[in-house]
Subunit: 134 residues, 2 copies
């Protein structure tokens, strides 16, 4: 079915048939997470109005929030100038996008210098992950 | 030299030695562009305080703005929970990140439905690219 969908053909899928996807929060504009989609995932995202990614580790479609309940309602889908990256504007259910129970996956901040640097966790855990994934 | 830099070892470089990078504008939080870095690029970014990417097409380090003048001053560097994606918070010189002369590379918006959708350019060209790249 996907083959007939012209707008999907405009996306430059990589050698694995995937495209990088950035999920950004509507309103705050916070970058919540980064994932991948294949054609089916992007098609399903449009159909459903919620983010559906391709899980590279599990090799299957991943309806974000299917386990945690932290679904992402999609308000806007953008494609970049090279047509090989997708940006979603989403409403994040539960205010938590990260499997660690944080708002955003990007909670490790570089501090220091080239010769003496480290990654420091700077954002709080809002919900114990053990209570998210039962 | 890079091999000695411990914080660089925490990053999970992909099979090509690269990591995806999202550049987000300080203040507005707009997502400006997406690119890739190798170890040298990330090291150089920290040293310089300006974004240095790895150009996959030209196969060399790419100091963003080296031709256009549209450099990116780096204020914050984040790593995600899986340690395989980097997020930069940058101050965008000239207010233009995209080679098309637009503020952001994500100017094509999906409109329509699965069966009848299209990508529509919705953001203005601020500067004629011909005047940027002489």
């Amino acid at each position: 079915m996907s083959i007939k969908v012209k707008w999907l053909n405009k996306v430059k899928w990589d050698e694995y048939g995937l495209v990088p996807v950035i999920a950004q929060e509507l309103g705050s504009n916070d970058v919540l997470m980064f994932a991948w989609m294949n054609r089916d995932a992007l098609e399903r995202t449009v159909e459903l109005g919620e983010a559906v990614y391709w899980s590279r580790s599990r090799k299957k479609l991943w309806h974000k929030g299917e386990e945690s309940g932290h679904t992402q309602k999609v308000h806007d889908i953008r494609l970049d100038c090279d047509e090989d990256v997708v940006l979603l504007k989403v409403e994040q259910t539960g205010n938590i996008a990260c499997h660690t129970g944080r708002h955003s996956c990007f909670f490790q901040k570089f501090e220091g210098t080239v010769g003496d640097g480290e990654w420091v966790s700077v954002d709080p855990v809002l919900v114990d992950p053990a209570s998210i994934y039962k």
